[in-house]
Structure formats: C-alpha cells, structure tokens
Amino acid sequence: MRLLRIVPDDTKFDFMRFRRVSFPISALLSIAAILLFFTHGLNFGIDFVGGTLVEIQSKSGPADLGRMRTTLGGLNLGDVQLQQFGAPTDVLIRIPQQPGGEGAQQEAIAKVRAALGSDVDYRRVEVVGPRVSTELLAYGMIGLMSAILGILVYLWFRFEWQFALGAMIANVHDLVLTIGFMSLTQIDFDLTSIAALLTILGYSLNDTVVIYDRIREMLRRYKKMPMADLLNISVNSTLSRSIITHVTVTLALLALFFFGPRAIHSFTSTMLFGVVLVGTYTSIFIAAPILIYLGVGTTRIEEERAAGKSQAGKPVPASR
C-alpha cells in the first residue's frame, strides 16, 4: 500500500526569510485585532454581563419571530433580541440585565414565560445575576493570566528564558488574533470562549514546544551552524509532524462543528480559527524566527551578521 505523504521528505523551505514578511503582517494583524476589540468590542454573553438567555421551541410549526418580537417588546424589558437558532422552530431570546438587582432578573423571566404562554417548550433558560457575572468575568481574566504565567514558568524551567519569552510572545499573538476574530464575527463571548482561548493557548504552545525541543537539540548538535539555518532545519524537520497533527485536530474540530450540537458552535469555530489557522502559522513563522531576535546563541548571530547578505537567498545547506 502506498502511504499518504502530505509533506514530502526533506523539505528545505527557507522559513526564516519569511520573517521579514511574517513579522510585519503579524504586527499589522495584531494592531487590527486590537483596534477591532476597542471599536467593535466583544459580543459578551450573559455569563459576563448578566441577563437572561432563553431557548424555546415552538410546539406548532415554525416559530413566528415577528409576533414574538412584538409580544416581548411590549414587556418593557429593554432591548430583547430574538434569533432563529438551528431549526425553524427554535428561537433564542436574549434579555438584557434588568436594573434592580438580583430579584429583578427572576421577575423578567417570569414575565416572559407568562407572555409566551403554553405554545412553546423551554429548552434552556439561563439567568445570570449582576454579582455572578462580575465574578465570572474576573475569574475568566484571572484564569487566562494565570495560565499564561504558569506556562511561562514551566517553559522557563524547561528551556532557556529566551525560549519561554519567545513562546509567550507567539502565543499572546495567537490570543490577540483570536480575540480580533471574535470581535469581527461578533461570536458570543462567554465562559466556553474562555475555555476555547485556554485550549488554543495550550495547543498552540504544544506545537511551539515541539519545534523548540528540536531547536534545542540542534543547538547542542551543531555548535557552529548559523542560527537562521539551524532554525530552518528544525522547522523543516518537524514540518510533517506539524501538518499531520493539525490535520487530525482539524478533522476532530470539523466533526464537532458540523455534527455537534448548536450550543458549542461558537466554541468550535473559535477553536478552528485559533488552533488551525493561527496556531500553525505562529509556531512556524513567529515562534521560531523570534528566537533570532531574542538572542538565542548570540555568538551565532554575530557569525550570521558577519556572513552577512551573502547568506540571504541561498538555499539552506544540507547539514547531514
């Protein structure tokens, strides 16, 4: 049987040359993401801003969104949003947080239940009061920060500090782009989004660490090789693994995206973007070349400079 080879043996792409392109692109994209975040903001779900989320299913055929909108609009509950959710019978209703503390939220949902009557099935009701939402947001942020810190410390123990810093820059870049994506698409940002961000962080690092492991090994083996060449060899030799692993993760995520329940759609689409699109790019085009700037093997950098422009453009010398 002939086996599938997605990446041919012995690739010799000069990834490091791309850093002159990839760094500015990443910087631009990051700035765009940050701008998006500050202008468009995130579509915070009730987990973080409080309020009520109701998923209903009409018992008698497709739901009449217009009529429901009028009915609920007359309840004086603020900006009530209705949205078809999957099947035409299913509707997702969002009620903003009501002024008047914790008890007011419960009164709002009671009013909605009374207004919609018995023609609908309540598939899901989530009410998050002001206190809980504030706490969840704080926990979410603290969680993200402590995960980043924890991973930084681990990498610092396991590698030299330049690697830890490089990995961190690369993966904060992932998070920034993913948040930009969430802002652009206005996907619901809730607790599962924090879960998605943390998982993206974990997987992205997983990838980076694999490449860094190889770089470290190469650093020990080839004491004299110019840094750019060494990084190129490292990335090329782990390229097949990077691609294959991303294919399997993508397959799993696609299955969740297309066959999984609607409730985890925003979760899977965020992960697809973060892990598949950004993560792969980052470990190859950001995490590895950034080591040059962080001064890994400083002596080599001088050698590289000494070798100067004559190196650029030439294919990577086969080292074995």
Binding site: M1, G129, I244, V247, L253, L254
Partner: protein, 532 residues
C-alpha cells in the same frame, strides 16, 4: 527502548485493562448496576446540560444576617442594663454598625464594664479557641459605651446560616420527589442547588425563595390600618394576593412562631371543601396558643408568613388541643407547598437566586445524540486518516486511540465525574490530539530512517527522542486544563476534566502501550524496513 521486561508488560496491560474495565458500568442500565457490589458501581454522571435539570445558585442575604445579629446584640445589652439597673433599657440604640448606651448618672461604671464585657464570648475555630471574641466593648468615657459585633462573629453567624439553610433546603427539595438532588455550600455565603430532570423549575424556585417565617400574632384593633399612623408596638402588613392585598395592623409581639410547629399537612376544609393546611403545635406552642385564644375570644388573630398576612380569622372559641388549620383561598398546590415549607422550617435568612441555568430534557437528549454523532464522525475521520498516512503503524495508533478513549471513560467513572456537553467536545478533541504522540514518534522514526539507521535502531531512537517532546508539549496543555478546571463552573469544568484526563491517558499510552505494541511487532517480525 524496545526491550520491555515481562513484569513491566504485565503491569502495563493490567493497568490498561483495569482502567478500561472501570468504564463497564456505564453500558448497563442503572437498575442492573444497582445490584452489583458497591465497588463496581462507580459510573459517569451526566451533567445537567445533558440530562436536563436546574442549577440554581442562592446567596444568603448577608445584610439581613448582620442586621439580625446587631439587633440581637441590642437586646442583650438591654437585658444587662435592666438586670443591673444601669439606666433605661429603651436608651440602648443601634447607630450604624454599633449599639450605643449611656448609663444613668451615678451608675457603677466598674460594674457596668464588667457586666458588658461578659456579653463577649470567645469564638471557637477549627483548632479550639482562636482568641477572637464575639463582641467589642468600648468604654467611650462619661458613661457612654459602644458595642460592635466583631467581623469573625459575623462570619461565623453567616456560616451557621448557610449550614442551616442547606438542611432546610434539603428538606424542601426532597419533598419534590425528584431523583438525586444535590445541595452544596459554595464559598462563604452561597448554596448551589442542582436538581436533575425538571421541566419547569418555577415550583422549585418558589420553594427556595420563601424564607417561610411563620408567626401567629394578634391583630391590633386600636387604630385603623393607615400607613401614616402606626402604633409603636404594631406594624402594617398586607394580605396575600388571594386576599386582595388587604392592609392589616398587626401587633409586633409574636404569640407562637413556626418553630413550635411539629407537623403541617395539606387537607380540605370539612365544611367548604376548600384546600387548607392543618398543623400541630408542640406542647410549648400549644400552651401559649391556648392561653392567647382563651384571652382573646371574639378578636381576630393573624397568620403571617414572611411579612404577608395569609389570613386573619376571628377567634370563635379557645383552641386548646394544640392543632389548627390555615385557610387562605389556596389552590391545592399552594396548600401543598405551604405544608412543605412549614414542615421544613424557616430559613435563618432570606435567600436570593443569583444564577439559574435550566436545560429541558429534550435539549439534553439532542445534545447527547449530536455529541455522539460528532464523536463517531471525528473518530472515524481521524482513524481513516491515520491509516492512510501510516498504514500498519497507523493501525497501531488507532488501537492506542481506541484504548485512550476507553481509559478516559474508565477514569471518569472511577472519579464519578460529571460528563457535560463541552466535556464531550473535550473527548473528541482528545481523539484529534491523542494521535499527535504517535505522529511525533513515527515522524521521528522516518527521520532516523532517512538518516540511514537500520529499522530497529530507527524505531528505538524514534521512541527515545520523541518521548521527551511528548512530555513537554503535553504539560503546557495540561496547565491550561488545570487552570480551566480551577476557574470554570459546571459545563466548562466538564471540558477541563475530559481535556486533562485525555492528556494523562495520551501520555500514558504513548509511553507504554504504543511502545509495547511496536516492540511486540518488532520481536515477532524482525523487520528490515520500517513500513512508514
């Protein structure tokens, strides 16, 4: 790397088999599993988002507890003042967070301070006394004394209030007759109630939201019920909606309270057929109720629940038997719920619902089915892809993945863990990432082959070099999962659990099982070339 001793082989296989077997109870109906020995019954619990149910987070009204504690202190000070003739008890007042009192002129200040200090009790901690005391007494000079309840005393009282609330909620929820409700303390002042399989949590919320403080008091007939002029010893209360919110002037003095009830049952009035609640007092309550009704024949008394007058019947004759009935235009269900509330007792402080998440059984079932579909589809695609890429070694990887998933279910069962919808996503994701360890090993083997090593040497080197990387790369994801477990609640925590367990099983299978399979294959086949 390829030589694995017989003992190690046995240990690896035994561990794997044991963990996989732990998943077995999940595949049998609950009834069957119940007849098995206790140790074999551990199984995965479906989260509320999958089996349907209500998650309700309640918070004890700390402000009410503090106020009650402060009022209690005021009463204590008054008692001391009265007993020791230190001044007028009425001049003991609450000002902000403190109780203030000025002694009468010529009072024995030494005695006053000693007696006041006796009000302060040492507080107990986990390790005996902590040195903290319940009340701070400050002698402000000129016969002025200030009393404050110390922070530890407040905290202790709130803790007690939560404990009592949990007991009372348990009694109330158990009356609903649902399966396996769970009621837990959360943080300092919260109670989490989780009740599976409820279509409409309205009744549950109704039962949780009532303090159910029942009092029997006399109606004050000396004045008309006018909000402008309320006599100092009475208060203006309103009737229930069924009683048209009628205002009443009710004496503050409590004749008998709900604490003296020994039983309450729903029933029907023998004459009118209207739903009622019948109750029975303990001997203390019966005596006081008999005395009050004897003295007040012809006057109305009020049955007050949570500052709402349920009814105010006129006493026709003394009630001496220690039992009676409450009528108040109830529906059958209202009578039923009131009886439940009275039997369970009053909450020490009001509870507020601060978070509610309810999933209907229909959506839960849908989620399970779609989650399963996604899991099968994802696994099938990954398995086919791995086979196409690595052939025989791809099959080895697939065996490892299958065992991996079985082990995840085994460990989840062993921990009696909760499986949620994001948890299912975590398992599907693990399938995608679990093969990564195999990919790392196989790619390394390919490299070593290209570097000119013999088949066996290449396999050996591939394993030993890849394992360090596998360890490093998985720990980062594990840190993320651990953080998520710590900060997450409910469904998200379920994701962290499956993700974390998935990482552990992935590393375990990579280090042991995959190696064992490949080593066995090498021993049996003595390959010249590696087929990848």
């Amino acid at each position: 790397m390829l030589h694995i001793s017989r003992w190690k082989t046995i240990a690896i296989l035994a561990t794997t088999l044991f963990v996989c077997l732990c998943a077995v109870p999940n595949f049998f109906p609950e009834k069957t599993v119940e007849s098995w020995p206790k140790w074999a019954q551990r199984h995965i619990v479906l989260g509320l988002d999958l089996q349907g149910g209500s998650h309700i987070l309640l918070e004890v009204d700390a402000a009410a507890v503090r106020k009650e504690k402060l009022d209690g202190l005021r009463e204590d000070v008054r008692r001391v003042v009265r007993e020791n003739r230190l001044g007028s008890p009425a001049s003991v007042v609450v000002r902000g967070n403190t109780v203030e009192f000025r002694t009468r002129e010529g009072a024995d200040q030494q005695l006053a301070l000693t007696k006041f200090r006796e009000l302060s009790q040492p507080l107990g901690g986990f390790l005996g006394t902590t040195g903290a005391r319940s009340v701070d007494v400050v002698d402000a000079g000129n016969g002025l004394y200030r009393f404050t309840v110390t922070e530890p005393a407040y905290i202790e009282r709130i803790r007690q209030a939560v404990d009592q609330s949990i007991q009372i909620i348990e009694r109330r929820v158990n009356e609903l007759g649902t399966v396996e409700p769970s009621i837990q303390r959360q943080g300092a002042d919260r109670v989490l109630v989780q009740v599976p399989g409820l279509q409409d949590p309205a009744r549950l919320k109704e039962l949780l939201g009532k303090t159910a403080k029942l009092t029997f008091r006399m109606v004050d007939l000396t004045a008309a019920p006018d909000p402008g002029r309320v006599p100092p010893d009475s208060e203006l209360l309103y009737g229930t909606k069924a009683e048209n919110n009628q205002p009443y002037l009710i004496e503050k003095r409590v004749v008998v309270s709900g604490e003296d009830l020994t039983d309450a049952q729903p029933g029907f009035d023998q004459r009118t057929g209207e739903p009622i609640v019948t109750f029975r007092f303990n001997s203390n309550g019966a005596r006081r109720f008999a005395q009050a009704t004897q003295e007040n024949v012809g006057r109305p008394f009020a049955i007050v629940l949570d500052n709402e007058v349920i009814s105010a019947p006129v006493i026709r004759e003394p009630i001496l038997g220690g039992s009676g009935q409450i009528s108040g235009n109830f529906t059958i269900e209202q009578a039923n719920d009131l009886a439940i509330l009275l039997r369970a007792g009053a909450l020490p402080a009001p509870l507020t619902i601060i978070e509610e998440r309810t999933v209907g059984p229909g959506l839960g079932q849908d989620s399970i089915e779609k989650g399963k579909l996604a899991a099968y589809a994802g696994t099938a695609m990954v398995v086919i892809f791995m086979f196409l890429t690595y052939g025989l070694f791809g099959l080895f990887a697939n065996i490892a993945v299958a065992i991996n998933v079985a082990m995840i279910f085994g460990i989840l069962s062993l921990l009696n863990a909760t499986l949620t919808l994001p948890g299912i996503a975590g398992i599907v994701l693990t399938v995608g990432i679990a093969v990564d360890s195999n990919v790392l090993i196989y790619e390394r083997i390919r490299e070593e082959v290209r570097a000119g090593k013999s088949a066996i040497m290449a396999i050996d080197a591939g394993f030993s070099r890849a394992l360090a990387t596998i360890m490093d790369s998985n720990i980062t994801t594990f840190i993320a999962a651990a953080v998520l477990f710590y900060i997450g609640t409910g469904p998200v925590r379920g994701f962290a659990v499956t993700l974390g367990i998935g990482i552990i099983t992935t590393v375990f299978t990579a280090f042991t099982l995959t190696r064992l399979i490949v080593a066995t294959w090498v021993r049996l086949r003595r390959p010249r070339v590696v087929p990848i």
